[in-house]
Symmetry: C2
Subunit: 241 residues, 2 copies
DNA sequence: GCATATTTGTCCGTATGTATA
DNA sequence: CTATACATACGGACAAATATG
């Protein structure tokens, strides 16, 4: 355990563990790997070799396997028996299904705008501002992240832990598609102004208008992403397996 | 592995593995444990000792840990660091949140009744019939199970894998509350006729009426469960920890 | 199509840290 | 405060499945 702690510190994990509540190694490893996947460091389709990760992180195979199982459970990885784990590749049906979920959850949350606390709306505004700032600096990846925060904050209106958790995972899954389509700018830039418009409607606490606007927003986003996605898939990977 | 297979067969696992696609031991163990928990064999609050389960199932410690981590991820178990896993005890807030999710998901599904295929409606009817049959035989536990199927089938109207999966887990989680309140009859019997009424509205493809009815249904169910739950908690466990 | 190398799936043993009686 | 029971994590081993030449 001493050596393990040293290695954990080396890859920048010690803070969480040292300062606030500790957690098991497997969970921390899962966090690291989840970040790597959602930020696009591992491209969908990539095979993850246990050996190399074990070596890189300085942990035992068992611990890694626990972590990978969790991520497979979150649908970020696909576990093929006796073949190993791969970063999941979404089908277009998967993408459509994720948007179906988003429409239902986000619209339901928006309908609660009347009863939502001020802080919940403030969180949405913060995310919008975060995106605009990132756009000014041309950091399109961060614009994407801010966009996730924006929609996560929208779900926060419902005041439900379960829904927030679900949304978090849904967006993480959807990110798998973004990393196949590599042009972050064209994916997210169009939505900066629409985020701002939606925010205005929410600040006016107009549930009906907000729901309508959000529905169109998501319809457009789905259409655009699906288009870019099928294009990218054709190019990047003629043989999918 | 030979001995392991023999033991697995002994606890009735061989079918799935032999007939349709194989899966890893950890996943099969997770299935067994999930069933045990959702059917109430392990009561919420129970501490699960790795050693005894490992022995009972004839598997290695590590394999069990993979399985338990998954169930903790599904919120059926709670992992306390260095203390082990416990069957989760829902708070009343947890129950309320689960109903919030149900209202959103199930109502959204019901709104899709216009576009739903006949088979989806048939599945709902089958579940209603299943419940009525179980009630005639006074098998109240099975009535509860049929009720889960009924609501699961309702979500099937939306035609979304993700939502069905979410609903499945939400209901599994909610079952933790049912097992604290032990009177299955009083919990489920009142809803047999309401299931039938709701079914009628759905068969008439009247989305508005169905949503209204379902909302009242869930409000009542929540109120009733919360009442019975707080009563049961007071009695059964003066000290909760 | 076959022999070989690689990788996964699973088990066992063990050392160390942590919580509780 | 000590003892004990238990969880955490590691390493090694080997069979089975899969990829490779």
């Amino acid at each position: 355990m001493g050596a393990d702690k040293a290695r954990a510190r080396a890859i920048g994990l010690a803070r969480d563990q040292a300062l606030l509540g500790r957690s098991s190694t497997a969970l921390r490893v899962a966090d690291v790997m989840r970040d790597r996947i959602t930020e696009g460091y591992f491209i969908p389709g990539t095979r993850l070799l246990e050996e190399s990760i074990v070596e890189a992180l300085g942990i035992s195979r068992h611990t890694l396997r626990e972590a990978l199982r969790l991520l497979a459970h979150e649908r970020l990885l696909v576990h093929k028996l006796n073949r190993g784990v791969f970063v999941r590749r979404l089908t277009t049906d998967d993408v459509a299904d994720l948007f179906r979920v988003r429409r239902i959850i986000e619209c339901a949350a928006v309908r609660e705008i009347g009863a939502a606390p001020k802080e919940a709306i403030a969180a949405i505004r913060d995310a919008a501002v975060e995106g605009e700032a990132a756009a000014r600096e041309q950091h399109w990846g961060e614009v994407g992240t801010a966009n996730m925060h924006f929609h996560q904050a929208i779900v926060g209106l419902a005041g439900s832990h379960h829904l927030e958790d679900l949304m978090c995972r849904t967006l993480a899954e959807l990110r798998l598609a973004f990393h196949v389509v590599r042009e972050a700018r064209s994916l997210f830039e169009p939505y900066l102004s629409r985020n701002r418009e939606l925010l205005d409607t929410l600040q006016a606490r107009d549930a009906r208008a907000a729901e309508k606007r959000l529905t169109r927003y998501l319809d457009d986003a789905e259409r655009q992403l699906l288009h870019a996605y099928t294009e990218a898939e054709k190019k990047e990977s003629p043989a999918n397996h």
